[in-house]
Symmetry: D3
Subunit: 319 residues, 6 copies
């Protein structure tokens, strides 16, 4: 099998199918139009320029199109860039589908949904369990394919589910060490905290913020949904308030989007677990293409740090 | 008529009825118990110490009790303090009620409710009007007596209604100068922005934060109520989202409690109008007891500034 | 009448006269010189590139020249850009003057000067009135044409006067609601606060900061001028100090250029009124070209926010 | 068995032995000397005032003395305070030792040392293993009794060892979920990160900062010790640098004491694990004495937050 | 000769004359009035409490009175405090004057004025020289006795002159190493930078901020005076602007009171020289009473740091 | 002799030898490769583009090559840029060496080493002297050629030595004015503070950060070296700790890389002296090419300020 686009080094030659994620027109300094293409397959992305395009090219090479291309990987200001030598849109003969080129979570959709279901099943507190199950059922379909973000971490098909399942495992193993934690609250917090991303974001393909995502945000949307779910299910009691507080405070600080800081143990832990999973995801990805003894590209969402791979660590298999 | 407690200067003698707002027990350096009393009438507050108390005193002089006292106003670290020379609880003979001693808005409850009603009546957009009216009717009773805060500004009986009515007048006169403002959105924003203070705070007497006030806060509570109101009234459309955004963003910044900054014109204006009315209220109060040519006490909520009264300004009538 | 440059959408064709505001030479990647032109008419600005220029072109197409051009409006990284297809300098035959292309306040110069004069005339305190009138007379001419800034808000011919007159109206309507405000101080503060922009900036055409503008700034310059005016008029008393304090503190915080924060009521209000008028100006302009249901460009001076026009608002007439 | 001092509520009577942790002399407002005693047993601390003391009292009631006392638990500004009614120093007849009153980790010293030894034993990389074992052996004795801090968290006998062992368990369970983590580096980082607290702090009794603790700090001291250990053991290679970086960066930010931020995966994880264990320790302690439905005291090191115990949680056994 | 109050250690007995700097009345917990006295001599200050005072005591022991007292130096929360055993006001028999007890610069007034004069005399640029001399002559009298501040550093009689002369010497020796510095500008900047402290502060005795000091501040006052001086002397040219900029920018940042940062070399150097002299003054004073091997009290104006005296440094002579 | 590259103005023609410092390949908008050359001689640097290069060009024009070139100095976004009209690599015939083109300290290597040696020789405290001499001898060779940084200030051959010698002179002249300073500590601090730059940076040619420079940094490296030196020389005593503290704290704040702030007088002074020398170096360089009456380019490391050269200052000789 061919290696993915993420594993090509500067200097290598590429001949492969790729999906155009976005295509943006610009005017070159010689006055001629060109396209900046963001090309992707399951392993990652690369930028390419298509110079001196015709009006037809503009129509042909749009976001969502799978192309076949030949070219060289070059360095442009510290980022890899594909210098295109040949390009054509794929046809039915090529037997390729856009879906096959979107980066996707490493675990299956159904398997992940089942795992979440099991955590809900194990809850002791019936109120917490019923509200969580109700909202999970309601959004299950979108939840199973949604990315967790538009960039930074888990921004791939099913990224949200993958993030949640990883956090549930973390929650379980940490709660085993700190018995004062209420696992019902903690698991429910993990499952619901980002659930409203399915309304904040436009879906797995060409992901964007929706209007309500921009003006209200996933945190407040989910607090509202918990209220409605409780009303609908006829559930009263402080459990409702606690679930709302868990979601509300999971960004930890006002300047990060939480109007209240965590004020129960499980809320503080939820924030820390979220952090661990997001940061591991970002660091792993940054170090994925790096050779032992080298530094990674800078990671904007990690205070623009560059990470080092110790020289006594092993070389990744596919490099 | 007697002058209020707020208008006594250091050095003056006091003989009057006052309401005990709070009474807190402490242990003096000689090992004897004492009470720190927060005494109030409609014009303001003064602190007093009751030294060497007996267990009966402790029962007698509790929050909510009206007392009759004689004493001297003294200076304690730049704050006025009442040195009590005689104190007794009021009896039915005295014909005084606690309600008569709570600082209250300078305008009548009914009059203010009517004024708000008129603003709602004048709205053009039926969706905005119906949601606003629905929520106003729902909370009208509590709204008409609630303070706007526990301290800093408008922290008196009907303070919330007074703050809202002042802001409506400001909104009207400013909107007259900037025709691009949608007055329906602006008025609705003013009326709803702090409405959930009736759930965040425990009411006009001995005001405290409720549990849901602490863990969720009035902003998120009202966003949730708008959602429910729209559902109940069968209203759909972007108006609902705009009303939620107005409430959500009215503290302007994440670190001040708004998870989203204002992103529509009326939201930005709502924040500025809120600011003007709160600041004028705080400055007026700070300068109320200050003579021309002098500086006020420091005002914590105004960056701890001290305000100056120009020497060519007039002396207040009752000083 | 033709529509202004500000109202052309991406994709439209333009054929019109425009003023070259600035022309900057660069070297293209093919080694040939080009000009980046900032083109303007009364409604707004647009950038254009003139590729492959000759030395004569460089002389012909300079700032201050009115040109006639044909071209297409295109999108360049989210900003509109004019792709020039034909361009020539205007001649006397064209009967166009540079002045006619500068964006200008929507109200007449004389009318605004008269309105300011009326506010001064109405002042009660003779000292405040005389100093204000003296400085107003002194700078009247430059004041009537000066922009209020080089960018962000009111950066057009007579922008300063327009900003001041709007603020006076705001001050009047707000002072009507808060009787504790001294309108003499407030109006004087409004009139003088930015008056030294006439020394800080180089004038209405190709506006730049002067050396004293950079090294001292309009705030300190005006404080100094108030001192001199008082000396010249033989005026003593705290009024002089108050006027200086109003100007000194109107940016509110040290990091925004005010060495002292507002310490009198009118100074705090002056700052808030300044804010309202500047922000309304910026938001109105950002939303001017936006269709209902869309977001504006980001506004740097408003914390880089993008503003939304609700979909139930009307489409602007000229779009 | 008697209940510990931490479990007495305001209003209860106490008759028990307690250790004087610190005794501080003051002058009361009546001019007489008094002592502020910090009294402790294994469960926690309480403050008490000893009024009108004689010179002998001053000599008798010093830090390190076990006393027998009778008194009432009262509230002083939201903190519990012991009002002493009778007090005497213990004598040999009482059969009490100061050591028995110091709060101590809930696990045995030897058991914890063994657990750390096992983690070292399991390391794969010989260089990392040898340096870690060398430093662990060197400081083992002091390490086994040292507190982890003077206040905030794990500030009890063997607090350092307890903190490290908890973190090792956390590290193990998290590393099981993220296979990219190098457990040798992570465990070594956990074991060494606070090891130099044995030089930064003065020991388990009346813990203070040493001069080198103040001027250099435990982070830099340990980096220096790793260098020396490597020299002494004749070890070269990047492992030495990585261990130094792990220790150096474990406070994560310059303003928190780390001159370099984490730049390897294990360093970032070390910081997060440290955080989890410290925060859980602080929250558990704050919520220990709180009844369901109530808020805890404010915790300074957790941004001064107060934590809530949901009303559906169980009452602690000993309350 | 007797040792000064600054050199008494906790535990020592005092019998001496001292000046009451300030006397503040309070109410003790037993309900009786007391005075908090700030007592001073040339070497420093000490606080004392006078318990159970009579109305006559209140009149007798006021600021500005020299008293004779006996007492013990005690420790109160880490600060020295004088426990008064006997106190009486001085009479004419005692032959003591208040002036003799005010801390004063270590150099003579006349000598310092002469030194400043010499620096002015040596200036090459006639415009800079004339303006500097004019303003120096104008304020010479007040300048020669003014403190440089109300607290933190150089807050003693002639503190301003002493600070300026030290800075001139620093300026001279540094300018010798960096020939690009214009010594005329630098010296003039040093002489004028704090000159308006004579208007900002109320003078050497019981120093307070004046109203113009609070509302405008010494920086802006001096910029205004330079303008007037230039007008009066008929001087034009950029030298005037440079002198104004030097004064205006000498606090370096907006949040420290300078509306513009230093933009000429000499302004940046002026700020750094000001810093060096102020910090050396504060550190020397903090370490003055400290024994080798000990830490000083915390110095608020130096980020609340505590300073260490190395144990191999010598003990001060008078300790 | 020819004038250096730093002294050419926009518009001038250049014909000279220059060293290629770095050469970076890019792809132009016409799809052709080009090189961005950083060209340097002893006086400064200039950027140039080499368009449309061949593979041979790429090999020929690499970092470290001396070239002969002809071209025009042009303005590119406010920076000077060389438009190359002719270029060829130098041959042995040209008799030029790369070393001759590197900017170098204005003083000789040997002379500076001797001066440092003299300061060490003059020390009184034998322990301080021996440690300082030991480390100076150890690194003398690298120290004598190392730059002090990769950019901002003293980033030239022998920049470190030049910076240290200037600081020693400053230290000497300032210590003459403040007798409380311990010159042994101060001089030792100056000599050692940046000594580990020889390990943090890769050397004078194409200077980069080393791995240990990035992960540990020069401050911690030198603290470690002082420890080892003391061990090796058998020196004990607080002097070792003080030298470590001086180095550790010389960046003054955590966010600037010092885990502890200065806590001894000499450490605070070391930080201020370091600042003065670095800032003078940066300002002198920025103003070097500026005409009287003009502003310099912005200096990033000086808060992005632009500096002004007063119009009454003289024009530099070579402009």
């Amino acid at each position: 099998m061919k290696k993915g686009i993420n594993h090509y080094q500067v200097g290598e030659q590429v001949e492969t199918y790729l999906l155009i994620k976005t295509a943006k027109k610009g005017i070159a300094s010689n006055g001629k139009p060109f396209l900046t293409l963001q090309l992707t397959d399951k392993t990652g992305e690369i930028e390419a320029k298509l110079w001196g395009i015709s009006p037809e090219d503009e129509t042909t090479f749009q976001g969502g199109t799978v192309i076949h291309t030949q070219g060289d990987v070059q360095d442009f200001r510290g980022m890899r860039q594909l210098k295109i030598k040949a390009i054509r849109p794929s046809s039915s003969m090529d037997q390729v589908k856009p879906e096959d080129f979107l980066p996707t979570a490493p675990r299956g959709r159904e398997e992940m949904l089942e795992e979440v279901t099991q955590y809900i099943f194990d809850m002791q507190n019936a109120k917490i369990q019923r509200i969580t199950r109700h909202l999970f059922k309601k959004h299950q379909q979108a939840f199973s394919v949604s990315p967790a973000a538009t960039k930074n971490h888990h921004e791939f098909v099913s990224g949200l589910a993958y993030h949640v399942v990883s956090m549930l495992q973390l929650a379980k193993s940490i709660a085993g060490l700190y018995p004062s934690l209420d696992t019902d609250l903690l698991y429910a917090g993990v499952i619901l905290h980002d659930m409203a991303k399915v309304r904040e974001l436009s879906g797995p393909m060409a992901t964007q913020y929706t209007t309500e995502g921009k003006l209200i945000g996933h945190i407040t949307i989910m607090v509202t949904e918990i209220e409605e779910a409780a009303k609908e299910l006829g559930i009263e009691g402080e459990e409702v308030l606690m679930l709302q507080h868990l979601v509300l405070s999971h960004h930890s600080k006002g300047e990060w989007g939480s109007p209240k800081p965590p004020m129960i143990r499980e809320a503080e832990m939820l924030h820390m677990i979220d952090n661990i999973d997001a940061k591991m995801n970002m660091m792993d990805r940054a170090l994925d293409r790096v050779l032992p003894g080298e530094f990674s590209e800078r990671v904007f969402a990690l205070e623009n740090r560059s990470f080092y791979k110790p020289s006594f660590h092993e070389k990744p298999i596919d490099l």
